[in-house]
Symmetry: C2
Subunit: 585 residues, 2 copies
């Protein structure tokens, strides 16, 4: 319960996300940054020649001689230009008299986005020319001297339009994309949030910030870990998916209250979100126990087979036929599942081949069970329990997004709704061999204290002490109480999971030397900041993200390496036979 309340408190102290603002305008939006940094009283003009930042000037500065540095954002009729720094915008008057010809030349000829330094006086704008949308809109700068610090080539696009460009173009010119208000806002908010987290952990609760190695031993079965060849023949490091083992070893080492903003190396596969938000997931298998519909029958005859449905309130009012079609296509493509849409208002003729399957009687039963109303739509699926739940969880969010684009207010973007998910199973049947067990999360998770006796009789029923934290329907973190008893850990690894314990002998040994009871949580910082800023992608809250396929489009990474540079690492490339021809080019 601490993290959510802390986050809410933190957030009230920070500025607001702006996703829903239709037209980002530099002047008015940068106000929030100005406010939040003014509160901190940073000395932005320490160390440097500038006396002030562009965004901070107000009527209270009238008459002051200032030196500003920034990018040329805009210029009109060679009479004024707008100068931008990270703090905001300010209007600069280009002198028109002959004596200032050299200053005028610099300011009129410099291309947009060039970097200039200007010195001058803060003056009032003429009456009627104030701009209330701009925090600096009451003043302007009467320039005396100017210097072109660096000229800019013609840009491939305008910075302010950048968010409209393709993501590939944005990633290729990331350093220009970073100048956009939205990226500046996201990265600065991220920095502030991480700092608040650190202050909370270090200063208020005595946590110790410790860096753990990123060149480590391969985790057994760690298929998604990057390898790093060493200079010893055949020996490799691995970039660990998380500091999992190290954080436990720090607890054994008496480093009470450890935390780290850690780099984790793994592929973030797409995971369906787990949290219901605006409707229920209801098991309606019994309604269809005796059905003539083939695929429902099929599903229910299998173990773990189920028929589940979600209700989309007022779905019939807002959804078009092509929406339903795209939902069905999505389900078939991504989950290999069929979806039956059920419309409760029988007067509407949807001309759908599946509508006929739902008999009037079943329809009435559904209405009763799901407490649906006219104009609602029920989306129904059948199949293996986990798969059906995953699909419906995903569809619930998709439908919410869709309804919101149609103007239905479902989720309050200013609210943070937190939810803990607990009582996960400790083990799951292995997909390839359901008689064997695998860890639902990882083999170090402790069993629920009330279920320990079941470990020796019915391990499948044991609940774990794993917990997930969900914010506005997005999983933002998870953690667990860990096993601190070496004997129990050995039993779970060797007897239940049939793992090779030799690879983890250092962990088992460490637990034997007085490991204290311990546990923790890891927040997914990228995802958390994403939710808080309302960004559509985690790539919008990371300075230099990789593309979907793991490429850096700016520098063309990963890249080829000449064979002689592979020699010290005792490796060579095994070219796939069908790409040998391609290599020759």
């Amino acid at each position: 319960m601490y993290f959510p309340s802390w986050l809410s408190q933190l957030y009230r102290g920070l500025s607001r996300p702006i996703r829903r603002t239709t037209q980002p305008i530099w002047g008015s939006l940068s106000r929030s940054l100005v406010l939040s940094s003014q509160r901190r009283n940073p000395e932005f003009s320490s160390f440097v020649v500038r006396t002030n930042t562009c965004g901070e000037l107000r009527s209270s500065h009238l008459g002051q001689e200032v030196t500003l540095c920034g990018w040329i954002q805009y210029r009109r009729q060679n009479t004024f230009l707008v100068l931008r720094d990270f703090h905001g915008l300010v209007q600069v008057i280009i002198p028109q008299d002959e004596s200032a010809a050299s200053v005028r030349k610099i300011l009129c000829e410099a291309p947009m986005e060039s970097v200039v330094q200007v010195s001058g006086t803060v003056i009032s704008r003429p009456a009627g020319q104030e701009n209330p949308k701009m925090p600096t809109g009451e003043i302007e700068i009467k320039v005396k001297t100017a210097e072109l610090l660096n000229a800019c080539k013609k840009l491939p696009f305008e910075i302010k339009d950048f968010m409209k460009k393709t993501e590939a173009l944005r990633l290729q010119y990331r350093y220009l994309d970073l100048r956009s208000f939205q990226m500046q806002y996201n990265l600065r908010l991220r920095s502030q949030m991480v700092m608040k987290m650190r202050e909370y952990l270090c200063n208020l609760h005595g946590f110790v910030d410790i860096e753990t190695p990123t060149l480590f031993k391969r985790t057994p079965g760690g298929a998604k870990e990057f390898l790093v060849p060493s200079r010893e023949p055949g020996k490799f490091y691995s970039l660990p998916q998380s500091p999992q083992q190290f954080k436990q070893l720090l607890m054994v080492g008496g480093l009470d209250r450890y935390f780290q903003v850690a780099r984790c190396y793994r592929d973030e596969g797409s995971r369906p979100d787990r949290q219901p938000e605006f409707t229920q997931i209801i098991d309606i298998s019994d309604v269809f126990r005796n059905t003539e519909i083939g695929f429902l029958q099929d599903a229910l005859s299998k173990p773990h087979g189920t028929v589940k449905a979600i209700c989309i309130p007022e779905g019939a009012k807002y959804f078009k036929r092509k929406d339903i079609e795209s939902i069905r296509k999505f389900s078939a493509d991504h989950f290999d599942q069929e979806i039956l849409p059920v419309f409760l208002n029988t007067n509407r003729n949807w001309n759908s081949p599946v509508a006929n399957f739902i008999m009037e009687l079943k329809r009435q039963e559904l209405i009763r069970l799901m407490e649906t109303q006219e104009e609602d739509v029920v989306l129904l699926t059948a199949g293996e329990h986990n798969k059906a739940c995953s699909l419906l969880g995903k569809l619930r969010l998709e439908c919410a997004d869709l309804l919101e684009t149609r103007g239905v207010v479902l989720r309050d973007p200013t609210l943070f709704s937190f939810l803990w998910v607990v009582d996960f199973p400790l083990f799951l049947p292995k997909e390839e061999n359901p008689r064997e067990l695998e860890s639902a999360h990882h083999p170090f998770t402790a069993p629920h204290p009330s279920d320990i006796h079941l470990l020796y009789t019915e391990p499948k029923k044991v609940r774990s002490q794993h917990y997930d934290l969900v914010l506005n329907g997005n999983e933002i973190g998870g953690g667990s109480i860990r096993i601190h008893n070496a004997e129990l850990q050995q039993y779970i690894l060797a007897t239940l999971l049939k793992e090779d314990v030799k690879l983890l002998s250092h962990m088992l040994q460490a637990l034997d030397y007085g490991a204290p009871p311990h546990g923790g949580i890891a927040l997914g910082l990228d995802r958390l900041i994403c939710v808080v800023t309302g960004s559509p992608s985690i790539r919008d809250v990371i300075a230099f993200p990789k593309s979907f396929r793991g490429h850096d489009l700016m520098s063309n990474t990963p890249d080829s390496i000449p064979p002689e540079e592979l020699k010290p690492y005792h490796i060579q490339v095994s070219w796939p036979t069908d790409s040998k021809a391609a290599k020759a080019h």
Copy 2:
């Protein structure tokens, strides 16, 4: 000048290093940690069952019912034991009455270093039994209930003796080593120092904390970069030696005031320290211009040849013959250089084969030039200028260490002496081909503004805007003003350095789009904390360090990978012919 003054200020707010304390005693030394954390008022007992930490209890807590958790540090005659947590030590009285038999059994039978939880009352120690060396020495705990949370196997050694063990053993059982006072102190101080740095940068000066990627493109000529194979045949990532390119791109992107506590992947080769501290480096080539001593003659006849010496005040008084021998051996082994020791007190017969070489006349000249006194020792070497300076710089520190072990007070460990080193050359002649140039630091360093014209006429004479920061003789950081002009950068890369600019085209392009003038500094955190804590090795300020050869001795890393796990990365091991036999074992 900001960093040094800031560090000194910071340090006064923290506790003192304790290297020179001969016998670390838990009780008295942990006082400093208690003080520094009490000042911050951390809620150590939030979230957990313990009501207090072991180390915080005082007379002011008398009569309070407390619950403590900790490791059993010590037990005497089954009447009391000392419980330890990261905060300190407290004495616990084992109840002797029959009704408390179960509590007594737990506390008397638990092996040392087991984890226990005890509840009881804080009482005064009997008059005369107070321990003034222990911060909690006025009180003890009268136990009512006890629970064994985790038993400890017999340890391979005692925790308090750990620093005396070999480093290999310490690294193998790192989680036990971390329980030692010194490691707890070092890692907690490090965390506090980094937090202070962040507060200074973020809260006082508006810096933005931004993480940059560690999977990036190989730097041209980056021979010391680790490779990471990707799943695309023949394509590799590289773990960058520093966020060098990214920090410049952030400046181009308008992320003014960026900082990062960055992970850098490179081999820290041994570098001689550059700063004179207790004596001079003097060029005495002229004295030996006409000498009959072969190796001096030899050296002086070559370009850049020189004869240099340092003076060790009172060296003759404190140095034994074997010290001189080990200095000579060190110089021969590590620098391939001969060292001539010159003793100024001619009455002492050192019976050294080299002493005779120094004629009386030269001796007098040396005394005059170096202002030496009786009992001083002069160490003299000859050779290539850089090599001779490097060696003498190293010897100066070695001799200082040696003299200090003999009880001579040379350096005040409580003083922080900072020094900026500036005016480095921008280019150096290439070792393999002295007619070509290479960057003294890296190709992005800006030339000194007064020397820019020399770039086109005498590039060797151009000074750089690189700066190094030295603390107590140790280089702790360095940085530079960077080139922000694409044309200048292109000229230096292509014309002067003859580099393939294609590999850096994204950097050149970025500079062309309005890069602001920029520069920065990087502190070597490991080395800085090392100097501040007075640790002999950076491995003492890192939680899980690698050994000298890059091994993790605890988990046996790097390790072999089965060939099938290499397949997704399209690589195979090229076994060196002579190790194929070894592999078979």
